[in-house]
């Protein structure tokens, strides 16, 4: 009886605290001064880069540090997940590939869907310079395509040999190398020379797309389940 009362007191206290914070946020937002953002500066500066899409310009040039650290975090998350995989299970079937056999519909759809996915990913990468799109959107599609292949059980998850590991860090290293290249030309870190800016940014975005796709696939695979977690009727 006492435990129940304690639980209730705890719940009420938590609800009060959370609603106080929520109320404070709402009052703060209602009274926040609306200052003009930096949209004007971005639009006036981005012509140097010959990129028509301001979000891509901000991501890769004006806030390049953020994106560099972001891909570093993504790669670190993948490495952390890989560390969590018990060594003896490293080559075992991953959870999503251990489900029931794929349906005929899936097998029919797969060869027709994959080229479309790759095409759209390529388009999104290229569109990133002028329209909404870019490396992260393209990378997500690449990762989704890889996950679909794995779900259909037509391919086993790759053993992470040298080549796969190289692709995993390719985007990060390419970004870093091009960022350092600016120092050689007497400019700041992550500053691109005006005439080369668009080509370099597109190269970074291409390698980023590949790395991000592989990262997302590995994150979806995650840690293999316990044996008794597996699906009923599963082939081992």
């Amino acid at each position: 009886m006492k435990a129940v009362t304690n639980e209730r007191i705890k719940n009420i206290t938590l609800a009060l605290l959370a609603s106080t914070i929520g109320l404070g946020l709402v009052v703060g937002l209602l009274n926040a001064p609306r200052q003009p953002g930096v949209a004007e500066q971005v639009l006036s500066m981005q012509t140097h880069l010959k990129l028509e899409q301001p979000v891509t310009a901000v991501l890769l040039a004006f806030r390049g540090y953020d994106t560099l650290l972001e891909i570093a975090v993504l790669v670190m998350a993948v490495i952390a997940v890989l560390i969590l995989v018990p060594p003896r299970k490293a080559r075992a079937a991953a959870p999503i590939t251990a489900g029931p056999a794929p349906s005929p519909l899936m097998l029919w759809l797969l060869p027709r869907l994959l080229p479309v996915l790759v095409l759209i990913a390529g388009y999104l990468w290229w569109a990133g310079s002028s329209r909404p799109g870019g490396a992260f959107q393209a990378g997500t599609l690449v990762g989704a395509a890889a996950v679909i292949v794995l779900l259909s059980q037509q391919m086993r998850p790759p053993r992470l040999g040298r080549i796969w590991r190289a692709i995993l860090v390719l985007g990060l290293l390419c970004f870093l190398a091009i960022g350092l290249l600016g120092l050689l030309w007497g400019q700041a870190f992550l500053q691109y020379p005006d005439s080369w800016a668009k080509a370099l940014i597109m190269l970074i975005e291409l390698t980023l797309s590949l790395s991000i796709g592989l990262c997302f696939m590995l994150l979806v695979l995650g840690v293999p389940p316990r044996r008794r977690d597996r699906f009923p009727g599963e082939r081992s």
Partner: protein, 100 residues
């Protein structure tokens, strides 16, 4: 004005998720609550940004939110892997102090 309503909804989402992070015992619920809280923050960021004079959205908050979404996805995947290891290590999917 519609931007402000998004920001206010984001604040409410954040408060609800904050409550869930502490009040729920199952770790999967805590992870989901963290994600909802992050979405609330993104809504506040995008909703409170003011666009340029020509009506175009401010690119900086959008780029920051895009970065935040990717970080949030990586963190969620890592947390889920940790949860799976915890559960397969014989433990329950909850923290020791929440077990009764």
């Amino acid at each position: 004005m519609s931007g402000l309503s998004f920001a206010l909804a984001g604040a409410v989402l954040f408060a609800l998720a904050l409550h869930a992070v502490f009040a729920r015992h199952h770790l999967l619920r805590k992870i989901i609550a963290c994600n909802v809280a992050a979405s609330g923050v993104f809504m506040i960021l995008v909703g409170m940004s003011s666009g340029g004079s020509d009506g175009r959205a401010d690119a900086v908050p959008q780029a920051l939110v895009l970065t935040g979404i990717v970080i949030s996805v990586s963190l969620t995947a890592f947390l889920l892997s940790l949860l799976r290891r915890l559960a397969s290590g014989g433990g329950a999917a909850r923290l020791p102090e929440d077990e009764r």
